[in-house]
């Protein structure tokens, strides 16, 4: 296919496209020219699977107008393809945005349906059966419209979602992978319900584009009391990571975020600021079971039962309230905060200081504020976040407190008869263990393009 030259700058390993007008007339040189051009084309086709195909992280895509399928509504086609891109975005640092306006040469990934000789492509489709799609290293994806493509969970046929995820994988640089469960297997396997990108395919794409990194506004375990059918009260918790205006539920047992996350804050949390919060604190002891969201100089209490913020607190104060009123002595805005059930203190962090707030006495604990380095000393000298903590989190899964800053975290050494102290009795109280990368313990927490956030 003769395409306008795309700039080589944003695509490594790309050779210039060729044009048909430069064919010679003399027979012998024509042979050589055809073969060299053939080889050039093959060089273009000669992909380098296994390499990152794009050097930028936000990629534009378009389902081209002359390439709509005749079997699904245009809306369905775009929805399915948008979902396919989102699935890759949920497990990689890449973000995708549909672009229906820019000149075609500025669109990174162009998709289209066709049959037989199609869309100027030099690889003909073979009709129904066998080959159902192909992808070109420069970002073109063609689907054989003679195939019976179907939307997810609708009847037999070939799942357009699965095929689209596979071909997008190629365009991003993945080769065929012969591994059970891999979406990059060459042959189509009828879609089991709820197909998702598995662990190894995630690592394969991250091997090309890197893992997902970024700061978090807050991380917390949401505790719920539920009653079983036998009337027993059961305590359940879920882990949430929040960043700016969106959040993920993190499934600790399966080492991944919930499929389909991130989601816009207002979808799941009603009444809190839609552009993000500074902290979430769950004060849970014999007398109190209250969840607070902090943002700027204000805070809200969340009503678990009604799944929305409270408008008035038990004493009749209207929410949102000023932090300085509800938590005297605590400055605002804060960087983050967490509640420590061992001493019933809320630890508020701001800059290089930490403010322990005694919820029982409703005042700062004696001797506070103090330096974070004093309250949470480094176990390894020099290995300490210093200040401006992004998030602090007590994890019920790990039974430990974590301080997050940028893409790293520090675990607070456990107190009492813990493994930490058994191994190293000399550990300082609340000492910070050496830092690790967030991505080493909480996997694949990836952004999607704002346009892909469901509101």
């Amino acid at each position: 296919p003769i395409r306008p030259p795309t700039t080589a700058t944003d695509r490594p390993h790309q050779s210039p496209s060729t044009t048909a007008t430069d064919r010679p007339h003399q027979h012998q040189s024509r042979l050589v020219s055809l073969l060299s051009k053939r080889r050039q084309k093959r060089h273009v086709r000669r992909h380098a699977w296994g390499n990152m195909a794009f050097s930028k992280m936000v990629l534009k895509w378009r389902l081209i107008g002359e390439g709509y399928s005749s079997q699904l509504t245009i809306q369905d086609q775009r929805h399915i393809i948008r979902l396919a891109f989102r699935m890759w975005s949920e497990v990689s640092p890449l973000e995708f945005v549909e672009d229906t306006l820019s000149p075609l040469e500025d669109v990174d990934i162009r998709l289209g349906f066709g049959t037989g000789r199609h869309l100027g492509c030099n690889q003909k489709f073979d009709g129904t059966g066998r080959e159902f799609a192909h992808a070109w290293f420069l970002g073109d994806i063609h689907f054989d419209d003679d195939e019976h493509f179907t939307a997810p969970n609708t009847g037999s046929g070939i799942s357009l979602l699965k095929v689209a995820v596979h071909e997008i994988g190629h365009v991003l640089g993945l080769p065929h992978i012969y591994r059970t469960g891999s979406i990059m297997q060459p042959s189509y396997l009828p879609q089991e319900s709820g197909f998702e990108i598995n662990w190894m395919d995630r690592k394969a794409i991250q091997h090309l584009y890197g893992g997902c990194k970024g700061q978090f506004n807050t991380v917390f375990d949401w505790i719920r009391k539920e009653r079983t059918q036998y009337g027993e009260v059961v305590i359940r918790f879920n882990t949430y990571f929040m960043r700016d205006g969106w959040y993920w539920l993190y499934e600790n047992r399966t080492n991944r975020t919930r499929y389909g996350d991130p989601v816009a804050l207002q979808v799941g949390w009603h009444g809190i600021p839609t552009d993000g919060v500074d902290a979430c604190v769950h004060v849970w002891n014999r007398n109190t079971d209250a969840v607070y969201f902090f943002k700027g100089t204000q805070y809200w209490e969340y009503d678990d039962g009604k799944d929305q913020v409270l408008t008035v607190d038990p004493e009749g104060h209207r929410y949102p309230r000023l932090i300085s009123e509800g938590f005297p002595g605590v400055p605002s805005p804060i960087d983050t905060a967490f509640y420590d059930r061992r001493d019933s203190y809320i630890y508020f962090f701001k800059g290089t200081n930490v403010y322990a707030f005694d919820v029982t006495a409703n005042s700062l604990a004696p001797g506070f504020p103090r330096k974070i380095t004093a309250v949470f000393p480094a176990v390894v000298p020099g290995d300490h976040p210093g200040g401006n903590i992004d998030a602090s989190y007590f994890s019920y899964t790990h039974n430990a407190v974590f301080l997050f800053k940028d893409a790293q975290f520090w675990r607070v050494a456990a107190a009492g008869r813990s493994r930490d102290r058994w191994r190293r009795p000399s550990l300082p109280h609340n000492g910070l263990m050496p830092h690790r990368e967030v991505g080493e313990q909480w996997f694949d927490i990836c952004n999607v393009h704002p346009s892909a956030l469901k509101v």
């Binding site: 000669r46 066998r130 080959e131 042959s187 319900s193």
Partner: protein, 178 residues
């Protein structure tokens, strides 16, 4: 319009003219193996062109595809590099000795990666596997491609161990609805 009657279009009737050609015999199997990279294409650097090659004159030149396929048919007598043939000791069901070694080793490679028994014989199981719906991107980067840009093949080599090892700890995936 493709004719159907049921609401979910599951009884869609495909006109026979639109049916893909099935892999039924060794010739079509060889085309399959060549198309998806199991049989190495001719390495043009090794081909010596004399002044007059006796290639059919212009009148027969009908178009790029036919022209090249004409050449490809003639090149079976040309030497082809061996694809790596890891014979893992499977006792062969005596593939036809006259078939080219390249076809047999390509067939074995395809059988191996497809999880079939590696016989080197174009048997029914292989025929079924070849006719499954599949992606049009070649399965194997031919050696010539890889050596052309060592950087690529090195990266792929670097990628492969990662692709073939299990995750550090079992990661049961629960298929929850999105």
């Amino acid at each position: 319009e493709k004719v159907f009657h049921s609401r979910d279009h599951s009884d869609l009737q495909i006109p026979s003219s639109h049916q893909a050609e099935l892999i039924t015999d060794k010739e079509t199997a060889e085309l399959f193996l060549s198309r998806y990279g199991f049989i190495r294409p001719v390495n043009w650097d090794e081909v010596q062109f004399e002044e007059t090659t006796g290639i059919s004159n212009d009148e027969d030149f009908t178009g790029e595809e036919d022209f090249l396929s004409g050449i490809q048919e003639g090149d079976s007598s040309l030497s082809r590099a061996e694809t790596d043939d890891e014979d893992d000791g499977e006792d062969e069901d005596s593939p036809n000795p006259t078939e080219s070694q390249a076809f047999i080793s390509a067939l074995r490679e395809f059988q191996k990666v497809s999880g079939l028994s590696v016989t080197g014989v174009f048997d029914d199981a292989t025929k079924v596997a070849m006719n499954k719906p599949r992606c049009g991107v070649p399965d194997k980067e031919t050696e010539m491609d890889a050596t052309d840009d060592a950087h690529d093949s090195t990266n792929l080599q670097a990628l492969l161990p990662l692709l073939l090892t299990d995750p550090p700890e079992p990661s049961p995936t629960t298929a929850t609805d999105r």
